[in-house]
Structure formats: C-alpha cells, structure tokens
C-alpha cells in the first residue's frame, strides 16, 4: 500500500505518529475518566459526555474572546462552568433515572446530548471555532519530529487531572463517600452518606473533567456543536477495555487508542479513520465477550 511505502521511506514518521497518538490519547483518557466514574458510581452510561467536551471548548473560547488567557483561565473556567451545568442536569433529570435500567440511562442521556448540541447550534451557531494559545511547536531530531506545545501541555494536564482525581477519591471526605456509594449504595445510605449529594457531585465532577478536556481540545483543534459523538464513543471504548474503577488502566487504554487511531488514519487513509474507531469498538466488545464466555465455561 502507498501509505506504508511512505512510512517505510521515512521511518521517523512512525515515531511521530506514536508520539502524537500518545499526546492526543491523554485527552481521550480525560473524558474517559469521567465516564468510568459516573458508570461505576451511578450505573449510568453518559452519552452526553462528548457534548460536555464541546461545551467546555465553547467556554474556553468565550474566555479567550473576552481577552483572558485561554490556558490559565479558560480551562479552569470551563471546568467550573461545566461543574455547575452537570449539577443542574443532575438535579433536573439524572436523579430520576439513577436507580433505573441502564438502557433508560443511555436513552435519557442521549436525549440530553441532542438537546445540548442543538441548543449550542442555536445559541452559538454552527461555525467551527478555534482558540490559538500561541504556544508554537517544538522540533526535535533535526526537525523530523515536531510536536505542538499545546499537545504536550494537554498531555500533562490530563495526567495531572487524573492524579488529582485519584487523590481526591482516595483521601477527601467526599471522595470516600463516592467510593462507598459505588461499592454499596444502600449500605452507604444507612451509614449516613447522603447518596443523592454524592451522585450530584459525581455527575458534576464528570462534567467538569470533560469541560477541562474541551478547553484543551479547542486549543489543539477546534470546537463546534456537533463535535461530541466521537468523544463519547472513544470514552466508552476506553472504559470497556480498562474496566471500571481503575484510573491507570483508563489512561493506558486512552493512550493505546490514540496511537491506534493515528496509525489507522495514516495507513488506511483518513476517510476510514472514523470507521476504524467504530469498528474497533465492535471488535473490542466481541473480543471481550469471547473472553468472558471462555471464562464462564471454565467456571462451569
């Protein structure tokens, strides 16, 4: 194949693709942290994940347009704004479906995702918007490997946020309550944990993480109202592979996905990149099922 020829003639491209993949994979992992949290604690698959990313991008955009620094102020502002939004959405809708069927949660959050994306379209317009953090890029190995600083920063921000989340869950009072609720919500309630507040906080924290990711996404690429779905699907894939309640595994899976996607886009051609993501999802699920089925036979 043609693209493989290019790859072989310029071996440093392999490195470039891998490095880019790792850096963008961290962003995917960020959105996936939140999904794992909500899924694990509340038993809800949040399809509106990508829309939170999209809205986070818009918040950073507005902060930048107001003349403030997009990275220093925009990303935190996105996180705060989305935290509030997440809390409101929980109070309005999510609390009604927390104990319900998982499929109902998929449908309801799907409705929320349509709502948010169409509202964004009506309120902000469908323009593709971007924020430039003016950070430039760094060239290594005599210009063969070029990496945008924003991607590097996004990568470390993702690591930092992940570590912060881990510490929060481990040591803070609310974090402990969240973990207790995820282990056994009834027992937690009996022991005096206000599970409703825990759920609200969990959902809002998820939205905040996605918002921060969105702020980084808008500086790396762009945002527009219909950005969301691929991020939701990626998060889901990452969580399925990594399992619930294992932040490190989520990070590794995210990085792996980033690399796989980059290689696929290069080798199969960009038009099959999206198809690749979605087919990979199918393959992963079938493979997972196959593995489970084997285990089941052993158990029997």
């Amino acid at each position: 194949m043609d693209s493989i020829g290019i790859l072989l003639s310029a071996p440093w491209l392999m490195l470039q693709l891998a490095v880019d993949g790792v850096l963008i994979g961290a962003l995917f992992a960020l959105a996936a942290y939140g999904m794992a949290l909500v899924w694990g604690v509340m038993n809800i698959i949040n399809i509106a994940q990508g829309e939170f990313v999209m809205l986070g991008g818009f918040v950073t955009l507005f902060v930048a347009q107001a003349g403030y620094h997009p990275l220093l102020l925009g990303v935190p502002a996105s996180a705060v704004a989305l935290f509030v939004l997440g809390w409101i959405i929980y109070r309005l809708i999510i609390f009604r479906i927390v104990d319900g069927d998982l499929f109902i949660s998929i449908l309801a959050t799907f409705g929320i995702s349509i709502l948010l994306q169409q509202l964004a379209n009506q309120l902000f317009g469908a323009d593709v918007r971007t924020v430039s953090a003016d950070l430039g890029s760094v060239a290594l190995f005599g210009g063969n490997l070029v990496v945008g600083w924003i991607k590097v920063i996004a990568f470390f921000a993702a690591l930092l946020l992940g570590a912060g989340l881990f510490l929060f869950l481990k040591f803070s009072r609310l974090g402990q309550a969240i973990r207790a609720t995820s282990q056994n919500s009834r027992a937690a309630r009996i022991l005096g944990v206000d599970t409703d507040r825990v759920y609200a906080a969990t959902y809002a924290i998820n939205a905040a993480i996605c918002g921060a990711a969105g702020g980084l996404v808008v500086m790396t690429w762009f945002t527009h109202p219909f950005l969301g779905l691929p991020y939701t699907v990626r998060s889901f894939m990452i969580v399925v592979v990594a399992g619930l309640g294992n932040l490190m595994a989520v990070l590794w899976a995210g990085l792996g996905l980033g690399i796989a996607e980059n290689y696929a886009g290069f080798i199969l051609g960009a038009e099959f990149q999206a198809a690749f993501i979605f087919l990979l999802l199918v393959v992963i699920l079938v493979w997972r099922n196959h593995r489970l089925a084997r285990r089941r036979m052993v158990l029997k």
Partner: protein
C-alpha cells in the same frame, strides 16, 4: 371470546379502509403518510428485539441501509427497466439484509445488555462511514436512484401502498410469530436468558432468527425509501444512525411493548409530533426533540400503552395491576 371475535374484524376493517383511502382523501400528504408506514415498520421491527427479546439495538439501521444500496445497485447495473428492476432490487435487498443479519447476529448477539446496545451503535455508524468510503456505491457523493417513469402523484401512491403493504405484512408476521413457540422463546430470553438456556431453548438460534426477521422487513423498506427519496447519502439516508436509527428506538419505547399495538401507536404519535415540530418550530425542532426524548424516557419508560395499562387496567382486559403473575402474563399474552 365470542364478542371479541365480532368486534375484532370490525376494528380491523375500519383501520384497513382508512389506511387504503387516506392517500386519496389527503392527496397532498401522501409522502408523509407513506413515511408514517415506514415509521410503523421501524418501530415494529425494533420492538421484536428490543421490546420482546430484551436486546436493545441501535444498529438495525444497518439492514435498512444495506437494503437501500442493494436495490439501488441492482437498478443501476442490471438494466432491467423500472418495475422489474425495483422488484429484483427489493429481492436482493431482502436477501442481503437477512444474510447480513445472520452473519452479524452470529458474531455479536452473544453480547449482553448495554454492551450489545453500544456495540450496535458502533456498527450503525461504522456502516455509514464504510459506505462513504466505497467507490462502487458512489462513496461520499451518494447514489441517485432511477427516476419513476410515470407522474409524480402515481409514484407517491405506489410507494404509499408499498409501505402500507410492508407494514401490514410485518405486523401480521410478528403477531403470528409472537403467538407461536417463537414468541415464548424470545420472551424467555428477555426475562432470563441463562434460565432459558438452561431449560433447553436454543437461545442463539432464536436471537439470530429474530434479527433476521427484523432485517428482512428493514431491507425491503430501505429499498423502497431509497427510491422514494431519490438520493441515497451514505450517512444521512441509508445508514442514518442518528435519525432513523434512533427514532426507531424512541418510537418503540414511546409506544411501549405491552402489546404489538404499542410500537405502532408510538410510531404514529412520534411521527405526528415530529411533523408538527418541523412545521411550527423552525430551527428549534431538534431542541424540542431532545426534550421530548428526555421526557419520554424519564417519565414514561413504560411507554404510552404501559402508562395506559397502569392507569386504566380495564382497557387491557381488566387485569389488576400489581398482581404479579397476572400482570406479567397479560403483558405476554398476544392479541
């Protein structure tokens, strides 16, 4: 039983006459009415898996898209003339769709619960993306289906009756299937798949067969819709996962699967609401749709028929709600 036997034919007769004459009376609305039957068919075939068998699929649109493309390719390449081309094309559509359902079913119907749901979502979107990269079927530029040889009013009528016939056939087939052992089998799968398996039901066979039945009708309807719209776009017409693909789920949920009428009612109500939104809420109709979805799912997870049954159990044969076995049994009984 005797009185019901008298009432039933009368009710069916009224419905039949109404649906046969509707396009003649409301001649300006033929296309919308034709799509009404497509929607009914969507909801019915989705309910077969989602409602009756407990397998919530977001990917049924795949069979619809395969049908649309298969028929269009036959019409384009085989040089058969309009009517024979359409007939052979529809045949090809049905065969390919069923084949795809058998293959895909064998691969992924082993997945349970939400894993199946998300997997089929990925499948639906991937199908559109793959079709958009496939030059033989026009890739991203899409395919234009042949122009109907007669007047446009005739075309609309032809497709109206085609979709009416398809929806009716789907309805009767499903009703018949639900009344057989097949119906009991798939409901056993919904209620507890492991137990069903333990009791000797070949669950995999049932599941694949059910998906094939769905695919058969969806393939045929895809072939028809491709021709009625006249232009097949890979992502927005054929594999329209985010519109048709999701609507079929919503319509079935909206109607509820208390009886086979549930999805049909859901489809009608949804289609009406949708058309009204479009007419009156220029630009905001999708926002309204999102709200509607949330409201339906959060407040009426049992659907219209489920809600009615809770409210007025008498309507549904006077079974006291809450009497465990009885209510369940009623839900399973098939008209």
């Amino acid at each position: 039983m005797k009185s019901a036997a008298r009432i039933r034919p009368a009710a069916y007769l009224v419905l039949l006459v109404a649906s046969l004459t509707a396009p003649l009376v409301f001649s300006n609305y033929v296309t919308q009415l034709a799509f009404l039957w497509v929607m009914v068919l969507f909801a019915l075939t989705w309910d077969l898996l989602g409602g009756q068998m407990g397998y919530n699929s977001f990917g049924n649109i795949v069979f619809f898209g395969i049908g649309a493309y298969a028929c269009a390719v036959v019409q384009r390449d085989w040089g058969l003339g309009y009517a024979p081309g359409l007939a052979v094309g529809m045949l090809a559509a049905a065969v390919l769709a069923v084949g795809a359902a058998a293959v895909l079913g064998a691969a992924i119907l082993g997945l349970r619960g939400h894993y199946f749901a998300i997997c089929t979502l990925g499948l639906g979107i991937a199908a559109g993306e793959l079709a958009a990269g496939f030059d033989f079927i026009g890739a991203g530029s899409g395919l234009v289906t042949p122009v109907f040889p007669g007047e446009i009013d005739e075309r609309n009528l032809v497709y109206y009756y085609l979709f009416l016939a398809l929806a009716a056939a789907a309805f009767l087939t499903l009703r018949w299937l639900y009344s057989r052992q097949f119906g009991l089998g798939i409901r056993a799968i919904r209620d507890n798949e492991d137990k069903a398996e333990a009791m000797g039901i070949h669950t995999t066979r049932y599941k694949i067969a059910a998906w094939c039945v769905s695919a058969f009708f969806l393939g045929l309807s895809g072939a028809g819709v491709g021709n009625l719209i006249g232009f097949i776009d890979p992502r927005d017409v054929a594999f329209a996962a985010s519109t048709f693909g999701v609507w079929m789920v919503l319509m079935a949920i909206l109607g509820g699967s208390v009886s086979i009428w549930g999805p049909a009612i859901g489809a009608v109500v949804f289609h009406v609401t949708q058309e009204l939104f479009w007419t009156y809420l220029l630009g905001w109709q999708r926002v309204a749709l999102g709200l509607l979805i949330v409201v339906i799912v959060v407040f009426f997870p049992q659907g219209i028929t489920g809600w009615l049954r809770t409210r007025w159990p008498a309507l549904f044969g006077n079974v006291p709600v809450g009497a465990p076995g009885a209510a369940e049994g009623d839900a399973e009984a098939v008209p």
